[in-house]
């Protein structure tokens, strides 16, 4: 069954893609043309569906197994937190918090690494990008 999960996923992607392709609104002048805005998506969607169907029948074996998806979920949560924090706390404080949180989650114990490395990275980023290159980045809703 596991050998069919990815082909099924691909078939689903192809199905949604083809459904969305047929919903592309064409201009009257291009509707009768052979190569219009739907042509390439249709071609790609149909080809993907064909490949996925063949893979579904033949089965697919994973090349890398035994992944630790719990760590991935934790890192994904950190990234979501980072994205949520940026508009409120600003890029650099959010970056320092993201680094500290992900280092801690990945098992880093040394207090110096957990505090100094994130702060120094955020400070270096701010100095290089905002001070050095003069790029304006919104400071965040909490500070403005």
């Amino acid at each position: 069954m596991t050998g069919r999960i990815v082909p099924l996923g691909l078939l689903l992607v192809a199905g949604i893609y083809l459904w969305a392709t047929l919903r592309i609104e064409l201009d009257p002048w291009s509707a009768d043309e052979l190569v219009n805005a739907r042509a390439m998506p249709l071609f790609c969607g149909i080809l993907l569906a064909l490949f996925a169907t063949v893979m579904l029948f033949r089965g697919l074996t994973p090349t890398e197994t035994g992944r630790r998806y719990k760590s991935l979920a934790m890192m994904a949560a950190c990234i979501v937190g980072f994205a949520v924090l940026i508009p409120n706390a600003g890029l650099w404080p959010a970056l320092a918090l993201f680094l500290a949180a992900s280092l801690k989650l990945l098992g880093e114990r040394r207090p110096l690494v957990l505090t100094v490395a994130p702060l120094a990275t955020a400070l270096a980023g701010w100095t290089l990008i905002e001070v050095g290159l003069g790029v304006y980045i919104h400071p965040g809703a909490w500070w403005s």
Binding site: L26, M40, P41, F98, G125
Partner: protein
Amino acid sequence: MWEGIAQGLGTALDPANLLWVAAGCCAGTLIGMLPGLGPITAIALMIPVSYTLDPAAGLIMMAGVYYGAVFGGSTSSILINAPGVASTVATSFDGYPMARAGEAGRALAIAAYASFAGGTIGALALLLFAGALASWATAFQSPEYTLILVLALSSIAAFAERGRVARSCVAALLGLMLGTVGTDQSAGVQRFTFGRLDLMDGISFILLAMAVFALAEAFHMLTTRERGGDYRPAASVRLRKGDARAITPTVGRNSALGFLVGILPGAGATLASFFAYDFEKRFNRNPACGIAAPEAANNAACTGSFVPLLTLGIPGSGTTAVLLGVMLSLGIQPGPRLLETDPAVFWGVIVSMYIGNLVLLALNLPLIPYISRLIQISRPVLIPFVAAFSLVGVYLTTSNVFDLYLMLGFGVAALILRSWGFPLAPLLLGFILSGMLEENLRRTFYLVDGSFSMLLHRPATLVLAIACAAIWMAPAIRWWRNRPRGEPRS
């Protein structure tokens, strides 16, 4: 041509550009040396930096990053048996045993000199061929471009790893599909945006490159327990007496081989290094030559892959696909007209490849014993920084939080695809070629206006069409030749 080379020398030898090529080499070496991170990741991570430079300096820096990362990958292959990329796997076959035998410094020196020689021979060949090919390619029109693009995409299947042809095709198709998201350039209609304003301009190239290579690589390191061999420090990086004489012919023949393989769309440095190792080992058992052959070939192939990129504007590999994206973002349209419109960039990039090799040799030989200690950085420290750098890089270029969510989704999807054996370079290649293919296909249809026989009167079109057909027919011919035959009757 000589005028162009002089102009290129002027651009590449500008003190600021020299500084950028040196910085690119250093950054590339440092990133490429980190286990798991290769040239594509190094280039993807450096894109935000290139945006702050003028086009010539940005590209020159990227050429340095490319070479630095290839050399950095060889360093981790030799010292800890953890090749950052497939193109340096062959180096570890003889390199790591030498390092284990206490000859890490010698192995690194052979790799450095062979890389330098391979890159130099490649740069000279590029210098000779690129201008001529670009002049010839100015006669190309949409039909030829369409077929070249089809050829590049077909080559993905032709050069795919054994047993992974279908997966490579699926990855390329996914890339083509992602390339269709956004506003259609010709008709101006919305496609696959699902009403979201964030998707109207399409998916950003930098977002996809960072997600598929940098972030997915961080996720891969996070979810696996794999580690390389023990670290073998290199005290001094020197050749032994007799090494130079032994490796010179090896370097010469494999550089030529690597350059030719590098020109082929879809082949790239990986195939070149394996070809070279296999070729050399047929008649040469010297481990020094076992390191020199793949190193010379992969560096020459890196240079060779610039031929289709600079002269036709078509990337032949994942790395050059990222570089094409960088060029387009910097406002440079590579292709035959680049030689006329921006000769300083065209020749500057070619000459800077040679300068980059020189800088790499000058910097790495004395510094490698020290900077190779970076390999020992633990993964729990490395992963958050790779993830943070890629996320911040994307946010700085798009200033859109939605892109970070999109990036997370693509990163997870890329990890899943990778776990099931789907190569990711064809995905990026498909994404980059998608818009070009659609545009040229449309123009071709307008041009031929229903009469395809006119294409047969164009010799280049005919040759390209035959090449495409040959690639498509090759698996069927191979199957026919290897088909099981019945036992002959006694």
